[in-house]
């Protein structure tokens, strides 16, 4: 009966369909990654791009461009996209708030603020030095936003969280500005980074942040079942014997780890963590095991696409990927806000 077949929910066929979908997304990601190696102010043939990976000829100008500029950029994009998307999905699960995202809740700006301070006061220049500051800043900002928003009647509603996040972002942004105005040297170092960019970063940056991102991603996947239970609601989860406070704390730490690492590598890139989980949910339904797995693939897919778009739109100049994601992601925020469920929360 076709009526029965349209009820997917569980079962081997549904799992098979989701698995196939994940493989398709992975294939798409490979294509986009290749495009990211090819497209830019210098167009490079696919042959050259593939040769640069597997059959590197240091005498070829094109292959050198791929190897030294576009490959690091693409790999950093892969890591940052996954980390931000999973961080966003986990925030949405634990705050039970469809608008949660590292940039909207001010976690990104916390990390960015701490990094600018580290550069300004301690003269740190390498991500492996300031990544710890990023964790500290992200942690403090998320704790501040969450505790302010959850005080008072009604708890941490989407509107209160978004307002607290926006104001913390504005405050930290103006302090960052003050520091930048005091010191042209710092300004020059972080000007492009602050807009959110994966360009011009050496590959070492990626190796540096990889352990933190990997911890966050694996930890997130391990917590997926608990997040599913949490999604039933605070009371139900407790009744089922779950330590909701402990789960919140652990996932907040993982989110801070992933966000801090992503901001250290690429600056504050917004809205990837908001949009990707919502897009993914359309296909996977509410099961966080699948949502997180899809986020790991679709996050970089989106980030790299945005980065490629940034290279194409203002050719031969480049648009920072953080600006592209904000321009595409902000309408997403508006669309979610228009759903009745959110506004009435």
């Amino acid at each position: 009966m076709s009526g029965v077949a349209t009820l997917p929910a569980t079962g081997a066929r549904w799992r098979l369909a989701l698995g196939t979908g994940l493989l398709c997304a992975l294939g798409l990601l490979v294509v986009v990654a290749l495009l990211s190696l090819r497209i830019g102010s210098v167009g490079i043939a696919t042959r050259d791009a593939i040769d640069a990976l597997f059959n590197y000829d240091p005498n070829s100008y094109n292959q050198t461009v791929v190897r030294s500029l576009r490959l690091p950029r693409t790999i950093i994009g892969l890591g940052v996209g996954s980390a931000l998307a999973v961080a966003g999905a986990m925030m949405q699960a634990t705050t039970r708030n469809p608008l949660a995202d590292p940039s909207i809740l001010g976690v990104n700006s916390g990390a960015a603020f701490a990094i600018v301070n580290a550069i300004f006061f301690f003269g740190l220049t390498h991500p492996y030095q300031y990544v710890w500051f990023a964790f500290l800043g992200a942690g403090i900002a998320s704790a501040l936003v969450y505790s302010i928003a959850s005080a008072g009647r009604g708890g941490a509603t989407p509107v209160k969280l978004a307002l607290a996040g926006a104001v913390v972002t504005a405050l930290l942004g103006s302090w960052i500005t003050a520091l930048l105005l005091l010191d042209e040297q710092t300004l020059d170092t972080v000007r492009f980074w602050l807009a959110g960019s994966i360009a011009g970063r050496p590959i070492e940056v990626f190796w540096m942040v990889l352990p933190f991102m990997a911890t966050g991603l694996v930890g997130g996947l391990l917590l997926a079942r608990q997040l599913n239970v949490m999604n039933l609601g605070e009371d139900t989860a407790r009744a089922l014997g779950m330590h909701t406070g402990r789960l919140r704390l652990v996932s907040a730490l993982l989110v801070v780890l992933m966000t801090g690492a992503a901001v250290s590598a690429a600056g504050p890139i917004g809205f990837v963590g908001l949009a990707v989980p919502h897009i993914v949910r359309v296909f996977t339904g509410p099961d966080y095991r699948w949502i997180l797995a899809y986020c790991i693939v679709v996050g970089p897919l989106l980030l790299l696409s945005a980065d490629i778009a940034g290279r194409v739109i203002t050719r031969p100049a480049e648009l920072q990927v953080g600006i592209v994601t904000a321009m595409c992601g902000a309408p997403f925020l508006i669309a979610i806000a228009r759903q009745r469920r959110v506004a009435s929360l």
């Binding site: 009647r153 209160k160 978004a162 307002l163 504005a170 930048l180 020059d188 902000a330 806000a337």
Partner: protein, 353 residues
């Protein structure tokens, strides 16, 4: 004819009813009026003090003489050409932002909403930055900023409308629009050559540095028209606060009135942005403080709000310029004061939102 109203006897505010013939009457809250006068004195005193401050110290009597009659050429140059435009700009920008905030907070009936949070200032900013980058003359920037503000407000209103208006939806849509427009501004600023980047970044935080007599003229003329209009419209604003249905029953043409209020609020925010960039948190914080001091929104309270905004922004600029070890844009100081205040309000918010 003036007669004190009876409410004072019942422990309420001391009110004066003022009748001009048979066609107009005002009710004046004596307390609000007194506070307004006090604030006016404070503004003038602060302005006079600010004019004496700086690396070149001008005695107070020379400030007065340079402003109103004649002084030495040196004093006149420093006071009239350098310091007064900045001081007056700060005063007028503060007044414009605060009254704009009061109008929007009244319209949305939500004290946590203001043009700097929901993207109206961002709309003015992105157009102004675009015009600065592309070398338009200063003359057109206020107009362009106004266009940006109105466009942003219209977009927010239309996108938040869904078979009715909800304050929460408006806030969320506004934050989205703000993020979108801020990304546009960032894009324009990144495109600046490095030499201009610092100026652009300072401007995008809000600063009255480098304002001249032309800026003062622009904002004084705009404020001279808009503030009286806003004060007249506060009566309508109060009726609107009962809700659309009741306002309609009371015989008000709801949508045209709302449109007029939005336009006035946008224009006030836009001239402020055109002169000083997007100074944050004045529009958010001042109306709230003014309501605590002056009570519910009336024409008098709006005047009080404007004066309080002037005092606060001038004070913040004095702190930014003279108290801190290095001169900073005034927007940094207003954010440093305003953001914690706002977070405190949110922390204590007993409205369900």
């Amino acid at each position: 004819m003036i007669r004190p109203a009876l409410s004072a006897l019942r422990g309420g505010p001391v009110l004066l009813d003022l009748r001009l013939g048979s066609f107009a009457s005002f009710r004046i809250n004596v307390r609000v009026l007194a506070i307004c006068l006090l604030l006016l004195v404070v503004v003038i005193a602060l302005a006079a003090w600010a004019a004496t401050l700086g690396s070149f110290i001008v005695p107070l009597d020379e400030v007065v003489r340079a402003t109103f009659s004649e002084s030495t050429r040196q004093f006149e140059f420093v006071v009239v050409q350098l310091r007064l435009p900045r001081i007056l700009s700060a005063i007028l920008v503060g007044a414009a932002l605060a009254s704009s905030g009061a109008i929007f907070q009244g319209l949305v009936r939500n004290p946590l909403v203001s043009p700097d949070i929901i993207g109206i200032q961002a709309g003015a900013t992105v157009v102004a930055v675009f015009m600065i980058v592309n070398g338009y003359t200063d003359r057109y920037i206020p107009l362009g900023a106004f266009g940006g503000a109105v466009t942003a407000a219209t977009a927010i209103y239309l996108l938040a409308w869904k078979g009715g208006m909800s304050g929460n939806r408006l806030v969320l849509v506004g934050i989205g629009i703000d993020a979108l427009l801020a990304a546009g501004t960032r894009y324009l600023i990144v495109k600046f050559p490095v030499q201009q980047a610092q100026a652009a970044i300072a401007w995008s935080t809000g600063t009255v540095y480098g304002t001249g007599w032309f800026d003062v003229q622009v904002i004084a003329v705009a404020l001279g028209e808009l503030l009286p209009l806003a004060i007249v419209l506060t009566w309508q604003l109060r009726v609107l606060q009962f809700g659309d249905d009741i306002a309609y029953v009371l015989g008000m043409r709801v949508e045209p009135t709302r449109l007029a209020l939005i336009l006035v609020g946008c224009a006030l925010a836009a001239v402020a942005v055109a002169v000083a960039g997007p100074v944050g948190f004045i529009a958010l914080m001042v109306p709230h403080v003014a309501r605590i001091i002056g009570g519910p929104m009336t024409g008098g309270t709006l005047l009080l709000t404007a004066l309080l905004g002037a005092v606060l922004l001038l004070g913040a600029d004095i702190v930014a310029l003279h108290v801190l070890p290095v001169a900073l844009p005034v927007g940094v100081v207003t954010a440093g004061v305003g953001a914690p205040y706002f977070l405190f309000l949110l922390y204590r918010a007993n409205v369900r939102m």
